[in-house]
Subunit: 428 residues, 2 copies
């Protein structure tokens, strides 16, 4: 079958090109969740899947499912796929690569005259880029979470679309879907019906590129402990006339906290812990700050991610202790609330091992690595469905028009995907 | 004479009240440089000075001079005064206190039937709050510097008024003054004609308030070494997916620099050096920063002030060395240019001693201290005219409507001023 995957390279490239042509927006593409750009991509994939003879359906949240029927439909099925929305003027590969890979793998099985024991379902999810397209209170990945029954109570109404100002519920209704079914449902995807989920995705960081390795096999999706709207409150005063002992300097206080995090991060890296720490926002007040004022306020955001829950909990404790110490030492008030905690989502170890074996069997170089970004796969893992991910090397990061996935790398990753899907669903 | 000063308290309080009434703006006062608010204050002081029998004149820059003629007009005269403009919705005392004090001191001498040997000239300067009212390229304190012949070449045209968008030259012309005279002049105030300058001003910091001392005697005005428009350039990347070794994090880099300054400041404080360090601005980009992006840019401002030129030079060297080190360690580019240097202006030691003796003789508690803010006095010192300053305790800082100078403190400081003016000009 591997030869049949390789032979589908031109097909895969042409699908990417057609998706791009349908959603081109300046230097990149825009496939807005629950709007026309995303819908055109869903229509195109549905048509291609139908052309391959797959049974195409759309669920109550608008997610697309294309079922390659196996010989034993009573057995739990396998899912592969990803999302089809993009960020605003994003790249063509973030999301779409996983859908095209699934389609290519299934097409290759058909080309090779193979029919699996178990159903293999290609899925294309809606609204994975929810942090781009929705504001308000929501937990992200709205399409896959709707299908998995993981939406929060009220989330259909508290997630507000940035382009229309309307809630998710209205966006779904207007696109022809059925939010009421999601709300009252049993969940659309019942874990008992599925043996596992494998998602291919471009890497969003530079690790594979820097290490010259085409494929990544993901051990887990990092959890994130976050301060979204942190604030240091000190007191404004005269930069020349107020001596050190009377200052309540918000910038020195926050810089102290940042350097404390820097030090703790270094200690934990040295101890081999998986960890990234980002202070994405550190801002004095544009309306008030000045060369000649001791700054009285800093707004900040902190994003701490790790595959290890102990590491995340340890960092939270460190952050809180250090914040209290700085408050006492520097005469400021330091707000870390609301403090968001999303847990790490470990990938299923047996699936990780199967992917490693698959890549080794095919002679494809790979790196075992964490996923720093969130993906639909984590929602499957969180719902109790064994999940795994394959990354494709990508030079220029994601969420920008410069994504630079090479089709040759994509094909190597797709060969691993097809290999393991067949190993899991084909003969068992 | 001291009893005559004390007896003028009601007069002084009424002058403050009338100045306030003429310029009230919400909770504070606005006396815009070279516009109506400042002009009304000048008119009021001119009228009061004329009423005392002083010879009132207005110079080519619009500064007011009210001369109390001495017996020996051929001798170098003494100047006392300050400015009459305020910041936007500022307090009533910053600047005005020095003019009211001079007027009160001279009135008391007249009340006491005293006539000095030397002329005593009360001056009210224009546009001391130039950093509030003028943008563009300028060196501040435009009124006193115009009188002292210290304007830069082109400054009449490069200082742009914020309320009108017009250059200083046009503001002067429209107010009826003569910028051409300033440009071609000999300087309006010739150092050979003046024996010294003594300025009373509210303290702009909290030191006197915190130490419960009514009067400050200033040893020098701190110089300031400044980075007005600093920038750290790193690279934006994904907060979850990019590991430490591939980051070029502008916030960690800048926090590192801030904490280095914090440490160096502590070392120099411990060594007894006069120093304040302020990072008044530390701002990621409002349009691009995000919880989930490694920050690629920080804009900042640094203000380092000291009475010691060696301290300022040492801090500049430290800052530059540390910036180069951080660039190498953290993969960022750190811009410190343009780097402004204004030198410290030491007050005349003999005048400082005279003020200390005066306060001691009157039994008035005082603190010997630095001035962190800039004042017209520094332009006199820089022009080679012996200068000194008396501070008045002020609870709530300056440049805001909450300035809280007590009239009792003002009177104690004015007694010191009158005492020393008489000692210097009265009998010698």
């Amino acid at each position: 079958m591997d030869a049949a995957v390789v032979a589908r390279e031109t097909f895969a490239a042409s699908v990417f090109e057609s998706l791009r042509a349908d959603s081109v927006d300046g230097p990149g593409v825009t496939r807005t969740s629950y709007m026309a750009g995303e819908q055109r991509a869903h229509d195109a994939v549905a048509e291609l899947a139908s052309g391959l003879g797959l049974a195409v359906s759309v669920d109550a949240a608008g997610n697309l499912a294309a079922r390659f029927a196996g010989r034993r439909p009573e057995l739990p099925a396998w899912i592969t796929g990803s999302h089809l929305d993009s960020v605003h003027v994003g790249g063509n590969f973030d999301g779409a690569a996983g859908v095209v890979a699934g389609l290519t793998a299934i097409a290759a099985m058909i080309d090779a005259g193979l029919r699996p024991q178990r159903d293999i379902v290609l899925m294309a999810f809606r609204a994975e880029e929810s942090s781009t397209w929705f504001v308000g209170r929501h937990g992200g990945h709205l399409g896959s979470r709707a299908a998995l029954g993981s939406l929060w109570e009220g989330e259909l109404d508290s997630a507000i679309h940035v382009a229309t100002g309307r809630p998710l519920r209205a966006m779904m209704t207007e696109a022809g879907f059925d939010p009421g079914r999601i709300e009252t449902g049993p969940s659309i995807l019942n874990p008992a019906d599925y043996a596992g989920y494998i998602e291919l995705h471009i890497e969003q960081g530079p690790i594979l590129e820097n290490r010259a390795i085409p494929v990544g096999i993901v051990t887990g999706i990092r959890g994130a402990y976050r301060v979204r709207n942190g604030r240091v409150l000190g007191a404004y005063s005269h930069s020349g006339a107020v001596p050190h002992e009377y200052r309540q300097d918000a910038v020195f206080a926050m810089a102290d906290l940042v350097m404390a995090l820097d030090g703790e991060w270094a200690r934990r890296r040295a101890a081999g812990e998986d960890l990234v720490v980002t202070v994405g926002k550190f801002a004095t007040e544009a309306e008030r700050h000045s060369l000649t004022k001791v700054p009285g306020q800093v707004d900040f955001a902190i994003d701490i991610r790790s595959q290890g829950r102990d590491t995340l909990d340890g960092m939270e404790t460190f952050l809180r202790d250090k914040a209290r110490m700085i408050e006492a030492q520097r005469g400021v008030a330091l707000t870390l609330e609301p403090f968001d905690r999303s847990s790490p989502s470990p990938m299923a170890p047996l699936l990780v091992a199967a992917l490693q074996e698959g890549a080794e069997g095919l002679g494809i170089p790979y790196l075992t690595m964490a996923s720093g970004g969130g993906h639909d796969a984590q929602d499957f893992a969180d719902a109790g469905i064994p999940a795994a991910m394959i990354f494709v090397r990508n030079d220029k990061g994601s969420h920008n028009p410069n994504e630079a996935m090479e089709i040759a790398d994509f094909m190597q990753a797709t060969r691993v995907l097809a290999n393991v899907l067949w190993a899991m669903a084909g003969e068992a």
